[in-house]
Amino acid sequence: MRTVLILSLAAVVLAACEREDRDYRSNPVTAETNEKIALVPLSAGPGGPTEQRSGLGKDYEENAYHISQGQRLYTWFNCNGCHANGGGDSGPALMDDRWIYGGQIENIVQTIREGRPNGMPSFRGKIPDDQIWQIAAYIRSMGRNVPKPAAPSRKDDMSPGPAEQRRPPGEVIDGGQIPPSAQMPQ
């Protein structure tokens, strides 16, 4: 009984630590992460196999600090120019459950890094890798695919609706429609 208690306490402790860590000095800083899963075809369709992950994604999408940094970068790098606050505009919506190129964090990282047809530019070399992970973690929070305590609260800004943290937990359905506005030839 006592062992169970200690173990569960330890689990809580570790979970809490990771969720609140402020790991600002990214690690590793020199090598670009190469997630196997990320290598899905560069065209619409379900994402690839999801077995082989480095676990790096968890470090980002379950960490409040990373998600919050991702939220800032999302605006700073003008992602809202096409995707608005996640509802989509000329780019697809990010807060729904449809994921054209796969909705796991690894898929999203690859989408940002490599770009996608019909308008999504590649940010390889433009955004450092750890920041791409942070942005992807934030994007995962838009559909509440991250733990509630780590998801962002409202911003000090005009309120577009309930913050990520207050949205119901989402699912990820691979595949989906590219919005008509984004289907013009590039």
Binding site: R19, E20, K148, P149, P152, R154, K155, D156, S159, A163
Partner: protein, 670 residues
């Protein structure tokens, strides 16, 4: 115990006099149970005497052994002792975090702790010292001493008092556990928005801070109410308003300040949590909110807070100055009026924390005037104490030494406060180490030195043993020198441009030497507390026995045994003088006729202290502890989901019903 009276001595003793009202309990024309004559089967304290009376009362008022008994106790002395020990433990934790900070600042560009940990450390330091030590320590002493000093057997709402302690303990544990788990708040002890708001404090760190506020303030308000009612209604017969000990006056005024100040910080922290959790916009300028609104709310509490910390200390100072001057207090009325004036004025100063926020200038200068004006009541107190010493015969024992340290340090801190009250000067020194120096002079000088004096003074009452005088003198000089070496240089570092809350500074700023000096002083100062701890522990085991009144003091707590029996007094004293034990050296006038088998105590009238009722006070109960656990579940849960307010209220309601449900045989309330 000397046998002074025989059973049935009550014949001929008046029932109605200037000491009792003699009014019926029920309304005119109503046959009330309140006026039913006491059961003849019940043993009363005029029927037994001496050791037997002591033993029987101790059984009636005692606390059961075992875990359940320990957690069920409603004895104000046991709860008060836990309160004091817990608050002093938090003082040590807060002090430790300060030492780590001083180590980090000892040299420029130090890499001992990074900015993230440093920010958590200073937040924990401030939060612990203000909310887990500063407010509770004054109330803790009140819980222990006020019932003894007003001559009653328990605090007014003993179960509420027990509940308050557990809520405070759980709140303190919660935030320290969070800190150990790296979820410690990192937003400063006043947690300004937007930094502590939803956008800039991701995760749950700021929520732990805000919820800790809820814990400590719920408990603080509840204890304050218990103390007020104890002083209003439970005073010994004959204790008119002008015979209330100065310590009790200070705790009474303090409790009033608490009742009116703490709701402001609860409002601030609750609205902050709402902004963070359910997306309200109180502090969001883009949707009509305002960041300064938070500061107004916080400081409307925050300035009275300083006096919440200081007022109990004035009580300690008054008690010790009087006892060790061997003279009754000079200017009793002036001292009481100054306390009241301080209490009122403390609500009119909050804007002086916000002089650099760009408020309208005329308004700001009003607060300059009011802030400087508070020097008057404080000056009156200082002068009256000095006059008492002047006309007395000072006895230089450890308690008085620390009080002299208090004068030296606190007066300096109060005077540097006058600089901060000036709007233009404040623009230079606000949020610098000058302010850090100032408020440590005020708070350590104004609270911690008197506290240490109070521990040396009342330790014999708490434990029955004297503390080592030799160690006490060493302790004093170590603390006094350590304190000044730590904090005096900070005035200068602040003037040289060092802002507070920086985790490091550049070598070329020229602050290194003074910071190193401060750090060295901090080690010395902390060492003095280690010596203090050693003195407490060793004296509690091996100190010489004290007897009931080792200092030959005049107030009623010294009429009880050391440590006091569960019933405090075998019979409730009757008070005819401000210093009853100095007035009655041969024998103690008492009331008789209370039950020996039930927990009866005398309820008296507010102004004249005339005995009015013999009301029974609650038995021990496990339910306050359970209710505190239910409260903790509700509070912690509501950091994560607002629905915890709904499901968390069910166990709370159940425990409260258990708490208030009367036992078959006795009458219990609160």
């Amino acid at each position: 115990m000397t046998r002074a009276i025989t059973p049935h001595d009550l014949d001929g003793v008046p029932e109605i006099s200037r000491l009792a009202t003699g009014e019926r309990g029920g309304l005119p024309g109503v046959q009330s149970e309140a006026d039913a004559p006491p059961s003849p089967d019940e043993l009363r304290d005029d029927q037994v005497d001496g050791a037997e009376l002591t033993a029987r009362l101790a059984k009636t008022w005692g606390t059961d052994r075992g875990l359940v008994g320990t957690l069920s106790t409603v004895d104000h002395k046991i709860i008060g002792r836990r309160y004091i020990v817990t608050a002093i433990l938090f003082l040590f934790l807060g002090g430790l975090s300060a030492v780590v900070m001083r180590m980090q600042l000892a040299v420029p560009e130090n890499r001992l702790v990074g900015p993230d940990l440093y920010n958590q450390l200073f937040t924990m330091h401030g939060t612990t010292m203000m909310f887990l030590f500063g407010v509770p320590i004054g109330e803790a002493f009140a819980v222990y001493l006020v019932p003894l000093m007003v001559g009653t057997r328990n605090i007014a709402f003993p179960r509420l008092n027990a509940y308050s302690y557990y809520v405070y303990l759980f709140g303190g544990l919660m935030i320290w556990v969070a800190f150990m788990l790296n979820i410690g708040p990192d937003v400063g002890w006043f947690a300004y928005v937007p930094l502590s708001g939803p956008e800039f404090s991701p995760g749950k760190r700021a929520d732990f801070w805000a919820q800790m506020i809820t814990f400590t303030e719920v408990s603080g308000i509840a204890v304050a109410i218990s103390i007020i009612v104890t002083v209003f209604k439970l005073r010994a017969p004959g204790m008119t308003l002008d015979r209330i000990p100065l310590f009790v006056w200070a705790e009474l005024i303090n409790s009033f300040v608490i009742i009116f100040a703490l709701p402001a910080v609860v409002t601030a922290s609750a609205t902050l949590m709402m902004d963070r959790l359910v997306g309200t916009h109180f502090f969001n300028p883009a949707e009509g909110g305002d960041a300064l609104l938070y500061q107004h709310l916080f400081w409307f509490f925050g300035h009275p807070e300083v006096y919440i910390i200081f007022l109990p200390a004035t009580g300690w100072v008054s008690a010790i100055v009087v006892t060790f001057s061997r003279r009754q207090a000079f200017g009793y009325i002036a001292l009481v009026l100054s306390l009241i004036a301080t209490g009122f004025l403390s609500f009119g100063l909050w804007v002086h924390h916000m002089f650099t926020t760009g408020l309208p200038q005329l308004g700001a200068s009003f607060f300059t005037a009011s802030s400087m004006l508070i020097a008057i009541p404080n000056g009156i107190q200082i002068f009256c104490w000095i006059a008492t010493l002047w006309d007395g015969r000072p006895v230089f024992r450890a308690p008085l030494l620390f009080i002299l340290g208090f004068f030296f340090i606190f007066v300096a801190g109060g005077l540097s406060g006058i600089m901060l009250a000036s709007v233009p000067l404040d623009t230079q020194v606000h949020d610098t180490f000058f302010v850090v120096a100032h408020f440590h002079y005020v708070l350590i000088g104004g609270n911690v030195f008197p506290l240490i004096a109070a521990v040396y003074y009342w330790f014999p009452k708490f434990t029955g043993r004297m503390m080592s005088e030799r160690l006490g003198k060493w302790h004093f000089w170590l603390a006094f020198i350590g304190f000044n070496v730590t904090f005096f240089p900070m005035h200068i570092t602040g003037l040289m441009g060092m802002p507070r809350r920086v985790y490091t500074y550049l070598p070329e700023m020229g602050w290194a030497n003074l910071n190193l000096l401060s750090s060295a002083g901090a080690v010395l100062f902390f060492g003095s507390f280690v010596l203090f701890l050693y003195n407490i522990v060793s004296s509690a085991r091996r100190g010489p026995l004290a007897g009931p009144n080792p200092w030959n003091a005049g107030t009623l707590e010294w009429a009880s045994a050391s440590p006091p029996m569960p019933q405090n007094f075998d019979r409730i004293p009757v008070v005819t003088n401000r210093e009853p034990l100095w007035a009655h050296r041969g024998s103690l006038p008492v009331v008789a006729g209370l039950s020996v088998e039930n927990r009866e105590q005398i309820v008296s009238t507010i102004t004249h202290g005339r005995a009015d009722l013999r009301e029974s006070t609650p038995e021990p109960s496990i339910w306050p502890f359970m209710a505190a656990i239910a409260t903790t579940i509700l509070f912690v849960g509501s950091m994560f989901t607002p629905w915890a307010l709904v499901w968390g209220s069910i166990p709370l309601a159940v425990t409260l019903m258990g708490w208030f449900w009367p036992k078959p045989s006795t009458e219990d309330e609160r």
